[in-house]
Amino acid sequence: MSIDIDPIATDEPEQAPRKVVQPKMSFRKWARELGWRHLIGIAVVIFATFPIIYVLSASLNPTGTLTGSNELFRNLSFENYVDLFSDPRRPYAAWFMNTMIVGIATSVGTVFLGALAAYAFSRMRFTGRRVGLLSLILVQMFPQLLAVVAIYLLMRGISDIFPFIGLDSLIGLIMVYLGGALGVNTYLMYGFFNTIPASIDEAAKIDGAGHARIFFTIILRLVAPILAVVGLLSFIGTTSEFVISSTLLTSPDKLTLAVGLFRYVSEETNSNYPIFAAGAVIAAIPVMALFLYLQKYIVGGLTAGAVK
C-alpha cells in the first residue's frame, strides 16, 4: 500500500515551471491545444456533479414534491430537514443510528478478526497454512450476496432459538457481515504484516513477551495504517449493503439507511422525494467530507493497487 503516486497532489510543483516556459499563447493555439480540454472538463464536471446539486436543491425546496424541485435553488428553506425527523413512521434518526451501529461494529469486528488471522498466517508456520490462504481467496469467489436465500433461511432457523440474534435484529445482521471478515481483507493485511520485520517479534520474545502481548501491544500498532484502510473499506461496504439487510430486517425502526430510504422513496417517489433528498444530504455529508479529506490516501491506494 505505498502511496507515492498521487495525481492530485502532484499539481503544485508542475505549475511553477510551466509559467516560465509558456508565458503567453495566442487564442487560436490555446483553443486548439487547451480549450477543448477545458470544454470536455466542464462537460464531465456537469455530468458528475449535476445529480448531487439537484438532490441538494431538492432538499432545500419547501414545496414538498418532485415537481417543485425542478427549478434549482428557487426557494430555500430547511423545512424538509425538520420534517425528516418528525414523522415516527419514517424514523430517520433510528435508521441513521442503526447504520452507524452496524457499520462500526462490522468494521471493528472485521479488522479484529482479520488481524488475528493475518498475524497467524504471517508469523506462524503450521500445516494447512498455504491451503488456508488459498481457500480464503476461493471462498470469496462466492459472494454472500448469492447465498442470500440460504442466509435468510438460516437466520429464520436461528430466530426460533435466539430471537434476539435472528431475523430483524442488528446483531444478527452484524454476525452475517462478519462471515465475510476473513477473505480479501485478511489477504490485504497479510501482505502488510509481512512487511513488518520479524526481528521486532524476536526482540520482544527475547525480552520475555508472550505471543498475545507481541500481537496486541507491538504488531497492531505497527500495522495501524492497514487496519484503518480495511476498517474504512468494510464500513463503506457495509453501509451500502442492501440485499441481505433488506431480507433480514423488517420492522421500520430496525432498518438501515439504505433499506429505509429505498422503501420510503420508492413507495411514492413524487411526494417523498424532497424529504428523501434531505435525508440523503445528511447521510452523504460525513462520507463525502471524509472522502475529500482522505482523498490523497484513497487515490494513492487505488493507483498503487492498479500499478502494483
Partner: protein, 531 residues
C-alpha cells in the same frame, strides 16, 4: 508491495521457548470470555434439546468442545488466532454456500416449507369443523411456559390441560382449584383474567388443543373462553396407506413423492413439504420454454450490462485522464476533484437520486430538459437499459479515471521518448505503447470490476426493480433484470416464493462468475505471490 518471502524469514516461533505462565489478568480475561461463549452455547443447546433438533445440537456441542480445547490447551497457537474468524466464516460463508446447494436440489419454498409431519398436521388442523352433538367441555384459558393452553373439565369430570403442541393430558386432581363443576386454575399455569381474554380474543379463538397424539381424533376449541367443543378435521390422514382423504367430498389425495398430496385427477393440496427434487430446478428453464427464453435474455443482458459498464466507464475515465493530463492546463485540480465526486457520494443513495431525475411525470429530465415530455426512462425496455447503464457509468467512471491517471503516470517517460526518437507520432505512442501497458496494469481491476457489476444488484433493483416486466412470461422477469435480481425476486417477491429455483439460479451465477474469473486470472498470475 513486494516483500521478502515470509518463508525465508526465521519467524516461526519455536514452541516451548516462551512458555512463561500467562499473567493473572490475561488468564481472567480468557476464562471470562470462554465462560460467556460456553454459557451461550449451553443456552442454545438447551433450546435445541427441547426442539429435538439432534443434528444441530451435536454440531453446536462439538464446536463448543473444540473451542474450549483450543483455548485451554497451551499449544495450538495458530488455531487460537484463526478460530474467531473461522467460526463466522464457517457459518455465514461456507455453510450457507453448502446450504444453497442443498436447497437448489429441493422444492423448498411457499407450500413446501417444512417436513411431511408438519404438513400433515397443518392440513388436519386447518380444516376443522365442530362435531355435531359432541359434549361441551368447560374450559379455562391458561398460560404456561409452552404458551397459551386450555384447562378443560370433561363432561365426565376429568380435568385435562394441553396446548396447541401438547395434546390434552389429565392433571393431578390435587393441583387443581375447582369452582363448582369447573376447574379454574392449576399449578404451574397462570389463569387468564377476563381482561386478558378480551385482549387476546383472536389468539384464543384460533387455539386448537389436540385431544390426543393422533390428530385425527380431533381438537378442543373455544369461542367464548368458557365452553369448549370438539372439532374434527374434514381431512383424515391414513398413515398406512399414506393418503389424505377429504371426508366432505370423498376425494383421496396421495403422496406421489413430489412433496405434496395429489388426487387422481391432478388436484393438489396447498400445504406440502420439502423433498429433494434432483435436477428439477436446473431443468425448469428447459421445461418452461417461456421462462427459458426469458432467462437467456436475462443472461445476455447481464453480460452486456457488466461488459458495457466496465468498458464504457473505463474508456470515459481513460479519455478524461488523457484530456486532463496536460500540465499546461490551469485548474486541472478543480476538474479532477469535481469529477470524482460521484465516487465519494454514498453508492446506495446514487440510484435513488437518479430515480427522481428519471421520474416520468415530474422528473427533471422530462420536465426541464425535454420540455414536459413523457419519456419513459425506466419503464421502456430499451430506454430502461440505457438509463441503468448511464447511472452505472456515472458511478463507475471516477474510479476508472483515478486508476487510469495513476497507471498513465507510472509508465516511464523514457518509453515515450524512445518511441518519439524512432519516429512514432502521438497516436502511435499511445496506441502501441501506453495503451497496452495500461491494459496490463489495470487488467485485474477490470476483471474484479466485471465480477462486481455482474452482480450489481443495488443499481438495478433501486432504479427499475428489474422492470419493465416481460410480456408473456408467467414468472416475474423484467427487461432490465440481472441474474442476481432474478434470484432475489424468485425467492422473496414472487407470488409463491421458490427458494429452490432461486438457489439453483444463484449456483448458475456462481459457475459463470467463477469460470470467467478463473480464465482471466490464470493470465494475470494473481496467485503467484502466495508463499
Amino acid at each position: 508491495m513486494t516483500t521478502t518471502s515470509a518463508a525465508e524469514r526465521p519467524t516461526a516461533p519455536k514452541r516451548g521457548i516462551h512458555h512463561q505462565p500467562p499473567s493473572m489478568k490475561v488468564l481472567v480475561v480468557k476464562i471470562l470470555l470462554l465462560a460467556i461463549v460456553d454459557a451461550v452455547a449451553v443456552f442454545a443447546m438447551t433450546a435445541l434439546f427441547f426442539q429435538r433438533d439432534w443434528l444441530v445440537l451435536t454440531i453446536v456441542a462439538l464446536a463448543t468442545l473444540l473451542v474450549n480445547v483450543i483455548y485451554l490447551n497451551p499449544g495450538m497457537l495458530p488455531a487460537k488466532y484463526l478460530t474467531p474468524g473461522l467460526i463466522f466464516l464457517a457459518l455465514f460463508q461456507v455453510f450457507v454456500i453448502g446450504y444453497s446447494m442443498y436447497i437448489a436440489f429441493t422444492n423448498y419454498g411457499d407450500g413446501h416449507n417444512s417436513t411431511k409431519d408438519d404438513a400433515v398436521a397443518a392440513l388436519i388442523s386447518q380444516n376443522t369443523v365442530r362435531v355435531e352433538g359432541s359434549p361441551a367441555y368447560r374450559v379455562q384459558v391458561v398460560e404456561g411456559l409452552p404458551g397459551l393452553g386450555l384447562l378443560a373439565t370433561a363432561p365426565d369430570g376429568r380435568v385435562l390441560v394441553g396446548t396447541a403442541e401438547q395434546p390434552l393430558e389429565p392433571v393431578d386432581p390435587g393441583a387443581v382449584t375447582m369452582d363448582g363443576q369447573r376447574a379454574t386454575a392449576v399449578d404451574g399455569w397462570t389463569t387468564l383474567q377476563l381482561q386478558d381474554v378480551l385482549q387476546r380474543q383472536q389468539e384464543i379463538a384460533s387455539l386448537q388443543v389436540p385431544l390426543s397424539d393422533d390428530l385425527n381424533d380431533g381438537f378442543l376449541r373455544t369461542t367464548d373462553a368458557t365452553n369448549g367443543y370438539v372439532f374434527q378435521s374434514t381431512y383424515v390422514f391414513d398413515e398406512d396407506a399414506d393418503t389424505m382423504t377429504d371426508t366432505v367430498s370423498g376425494t383421496v389425495y396421495r403422496d406421489l413423492g413430489e412433496g405434496q398430496f395429489q388426487s387422481d385427477d391432478g388436484q393438489v393440496l396447498g400445504t406440502g413439504w420439502q423433498v429433494g427434487v434432483g435436477f428439477e430446478n436446473f431443468l425448469y428453464p428447459f421445461q418452461n420454454q417461456k421462462f427459458g427464453e426469458a432467462l437467456i435474455w436475462v443472461t445476455i443482458w447481464t453480460f452486456a450490462f457488466a461488459v458495457l459498464s466496465v468498458g464504457l466507464s473505463f474508456f470515459l475515465g481513460l479519455f478524461l485522464a488523457l484530456t486532463l493530463n496536460d500540465p499546461r492546463m490551469r485548474s486541472r485540480k478543480v476538474y479532477r476533484v469535481l469529477s470524482i465526486l460521484p465516487y465519494a457520494f454514498p453508492s446506495f443513495l446514487s440510484a435513488l437520486v437518479w430515480l427522481g431525475l428519471f421520474n416520468t411525470e415530474f422528473g427533471f429530465f422530462n420536465e426541464v430538459l425535454f420540455g414536459s415530455a413523457d419519456i419513459p426512462w425506466l419503464t421502456e425496455p430499451w430506454l430502461g437499459k440505457f438509463s441503468v447503464l448511464l447511472v452505472n457509468i456515472w458511478l463507475g467512471f471516477p474510479y476508472m479515471f483515478l486508476v487510469c491517471m495513476g497507471a498513465l503516470q507510472s509508465i516511464p517517460e523514457e518509453l515515450t521518448e524512445a518511441a518519439t526518437v524512432d519516429g512514432a507520432n502521438g497516436f502511435q505512442v499511445f496506441g502501441r505503447i501506453k495503451f497496452p501497458l495500461l491494459l496490463v496494469s489495470t487488467a485485474p481491476l477490470l476483471i474484479s470490476s466485471f465480477a462486481f457489476n455482474f452482480n450489481n444488484f443495488n443499481i438495478i433493483y433501486m432504479l427499475t426493480r428489474g422492470g419493465p416486466r416481460m410480456a408473456g412470461v408467467d414468472e416475474n422477469v423484467g427487461h432490465t433484470d440481472l441474474l442476481i435480481t432474478l434470484v432475489y425476486k424468485t425467492a422473496f417477491e414472487a407470488g409463491t416464493r421458490d427458494y429452490g429455483l432461486a438457489s439453483a439460479l444463484a449456483i448458475i451465477i456462481f459457475i459463470i462468475v467463477a469460470a470467467v474469473s478463473a480464465i482471466s486470472f490464470r493470465q494475470t498470475k494473481a496467485l503467484e505471490d502466495l508463499n
